[in-house]
């Protein structure tokens, strides 16, 4: 068991490492790809050669980023098999489909048209080239769609039923999987956060040029496009972020409780605008205060989570102990069961499956029907059958809490930044305000912090569930020695770090070089 947990930890660390590296590059592909497409469209419509030069400049940076995104992406898909083999069988019938469709619909589109995008300027017509550029970014966006459909399904499993004969979950409604409200929200929230990063990236580089009094035409034109794309992206991010919070409150209340550091829920729950967690709070069961210091906006969490001023938002202890009125996944009002009750039901489900298989082997149909019924009745909490202590179902609160608040604070900052920059451009004052240009420059690393924080909230906040309530991480792994995973973890860490440094180095050189011809 100890070795099992060690393998789980290393496998989680490896997946987190590769996903976080991948997530450094994908948003820029999505955002900068859109911006490049818009710029080329302007060139196509106006015939202005300077727009072609601008497009090509940003396209070069897009290419450098795209390559490392591809490199870090391949390992994610295969890790489901190499490190999460039990998961791959248990839900492969549902989860595999979006990955395969992503390949067929998106990857080929990207890889085909990116070749024309980079090498086709003199080989295809202007219109065909523009189409290739758009198709490359559409391909990248479709790719994001399918992987987010898959991710959303893990957080809110729908459209499937457990089959005791095959000992796995099987899909019965593809439409439910694809059109899951969590998937739709997640898609728009994630993709448009890429637009925000793309906007900030372009603004940051452009501001640097303006400060250096170089590439002024490129910088001024790009600044405007970047700020508009960023603003539109940010507004959609904010809207879908609100939708996400509401969905999390309904479907993953423990995640919401961790995001806000709420241990004891109440009606009219306030939102922590700023807070410092109490490091002495070691367990949900101790009597330590959750916060050393906090500033709350009264009732706001209730409004966001329940759409009611006095709506009840359960805290970690409420969820552990149950007893409050809530809604189940079908939307019916129920009294929330405690985690101990869920664990009991989970164990019943596991035992029922065991009884089913035994009866099947003996050819006892009556016993099979009885066991199947017991399994159906308790399957909702199947994953709790692997849980041995209620504390295991609590995500790491400090990571989730701080990441959430960093994300929200920076999101508000970016919204303000885009508005101010556009207003200053309109008033023709931005290019003379050096401090504001520096603000744009330093906003780039801040944007990356914001994006990674969002990832931490989404993924650490759902721990320990690899599939919500159905399968915990420690039942999803491959049976390999921890040393194997530990070794590959460090190999990935070293390789990706070197490649990241190389990428940044190339980007910096390309930016310094500007649009000069060799």
């Amino acid at each position: 068991m100890n070795d099992l947990f060690s393998v789980v930890d290393w496998s989680r660390a490896q997946f987190a490492l590769t996903a976080m590296y991948h997530w450094l590059f994908v948003p820029l592909t999505l955002g900068l790809g859109l911006i490049v497409s818009i710029m080329e469209t302007i060139y196509y419509r106006t015939g202005d050669e300077s727009w072609k030069r601008i497009t090509k400049f940003w396209m070069t940076l897009f290419g450098v980023n795209f390559a490392i995104g591809v490199a870090t992406g391949i390992i994610l898909e295969f890790q489901f098999g190499t490190n999460w083999s039990n998961y791959s069988w248990f839900v492969g019938d549902i989860f595999g489909a979006p990955l395969a469709i992503e390949g067929i619909m998106a990857f080929f589109m990207e890889s085909t048209f990116i070749a024309i995008m980079f090498f086709g300027w003199n080989k295809v017509s202007k219109r065909a080239h523009l189409a290739a550029t758009w198709l490359t970014v559409i391909g990248a966006t479709i790719s994001a769609l399918w992987i987010l459909v898959a991710n959303a399904w893990m957080q809110y499993p729908v459209g499937m039923k457990f089959n005791p004969d095959t000992v796995r979950n099987e899909m019965f409604s593809f439409w439910e999987v694809v059109s899951s409200p969590v998937a739709v929200n997640k898609f728009f929230h994630t993709v448009t956060s890429g637009w925000v990063l793309g906007g900030i990236f372009v603004m940051s580089v452009s501001a640097w040029y303006i400060l250096k009094n170089r590439e002024m035409n490129l910088a001024k034109r790009s600044m405007k496009v970047g700020a508009w794309v960023g603003l539109v992206g940010m507004l959609i991010v904010a809207y879908t972020g609100d939708g996400s919070a509401f969905q999390v409150a309904e479907k993953q209340p423990m995640k919401l409780a961790a995001m806000e550091g709420v241990y004891h829920g109440e009606k009219g729950q306030g939102l922590v605008a700023f807070g410092i967690l109490n490091p002495e709070k070691k367990s949900y069961a101790d009597n330590e205060d959750a916060f050393l210091f906090e500033i709350k906006v009264p009732k706001l969490l209730s409004i966001l989570a329940t759409r009611q001023v006095d709506g009840f938002v359960p805290g970690i202890n409420d969820i552990i102990n149950g007893g409050y009125v809530t809604k189940n996944l079908a939307g019916d009002e129920i009294v929330a069961p405690s985690v101990m009750e869920k664990m009991a039901k989970g164990k019943k489900a596991v035992e029922a499956l065991s009884a089913y298989k035994k009866a099947q082997k003996q050819g006892d149909e009556e016993a099979m029907i009885a066991a199947g019924k017991a399994l159906d009745e308790n399957y909702e909490y199947f994953g709790y059958g692997y849980v041995t202590d209620p504390s295991q179902v609590i995500p790491p609160v400090p990571y989730v809490f701080y990441a959430f608040h960093v994300m929200i604070t920076l999101g508000c900052y970016f919204l303000l930044l885009f508005i101010v920059v556009l207003w200053l451009i309109r008033k023709d004052r931005l290019y003379k305000m050096k401090w504001m240009l520096w603000v744009c420059v330093i906003s780039l690393p801040i944007a990356y912090i914001c994006l990674e924080s969002g990832w931490i909230v989404a993924e650490m906040g759902r721990q320990p569930w690899v599939i919500e309530s159905i399968m915990p991480t420690f039942a999803a792994i491959s049976k390999i020695g921890a040393a194997n995973v530990q070794t590959t973890f460090w190999m990935f860490a070293a390789l990706f770090t070197v490649l990241l440094i190389a990428e940044v180095g190339i980007m910096v050189k390309q930016i310094k070089k500007g649009t000069e011809q060799k």
């Binding site: 450098v64 489909a97 990955l99 992503e102 890889s111 099987e170 596991v350 980007m507």
Partner: protein, 383 residues
Amino acid sequence: MELNEFFYQHYWWFLISLLGALLVFLLFVQGGQTLFSAVAKKPIEKTMLVNSLGRKWEFTFTTLVVFGGAFFASFPLFYSTSFGGAYWLWMAILFSFIIQAVSYEYRSKKGNLLGTKVYDIFLLINGFVGIILLGIAVGTFFTGADFRIDKNNLMDVSMPVISTWQNPSHGLEAIVDWRNLLLGVTVFFLARVQASLYFMNNIDDDTIYIRCRRQVLYNAIPFVVLFLTFVAVTLLSDGYEFADGSSEIYVRPYKYFFNLVEMPWVAVLFLAGVASVLYAIIRAAFATKWRLGIWFSGIGTVLVVLSLFFLAGYNNTPYYPSATDMQSSLTIYNSSSSLFTLEVMSVVSLLLPFVLGYIFYAWRAMDRAPITELEMESGEHKY
């Protein structure tokens, strides 16, 4: 067994086989990466070779990723068992492709940290290791692997893993199996033959053409010898089988030979593929200005690999035999997704002709004029 399920399982094994076959064809990119020093003597020649491959590497990469994704979706038990068990074999393959993915874009750019030489070494490693290990992985479809599957393990809450590898090497043992290695090295020489044919087609340079023509011959000789040895070894070896409607697996001597006899259409595909590859090799090696070799060799390769996959998975043959527990062996019936998922995926697969159509369009648009020295010196985007 319902006819429907039977059909879709066969259909998806066909698609997996097709993707695998296309992947082997597209490994000419990796083969080409091992030919730089043999074919290019001047920097501009190397630039032409690198750029010629650099416009195609993503097809190979994408096909590998789609091959993996399609396997996951259609035969998840294989994905779970092989990837989770033969950990080091698959990890080594992945590492070799990760370093390839950045190498083209970064190799000649300033500020790339490692220098051009290191990225070229990455390409070389991907060329050698990537091909040979993929060949080894496919070899296990015939030679088997050390795994056991027990779905009842899911009820063991302390260790609920259903697929377990039966040796601590986790895939490294497949590399030292000479039959797997034989296939790996065979694919390696094939990829070099195809790369030479591709360069002859894609680059307009007489010197490169002549050197590639020589490489076709140099690599074709070991390829043909190794390939015939692999075929002979496979056709003469025992294989696993199960009877219609039964899940009981047993050993059948000369299983793959009998598969060929009992599926004559596969034999026809196989022979047609071999003839096409041989025609491409012989004509390219001796003609003075023939550029179509890559197409004949490519189509031939696809046909041969398809037929090998069919031999591995059709005619009641477990495509992933377990060397330690015969009854755990994977068949297209016991490892597939549910009928519903296969149906959904099959609808999506109808997009494939459309995908192939736009790839063809793009390829034709880009390759209408072969790569020349002039283009490389023009200052446009290049690697």
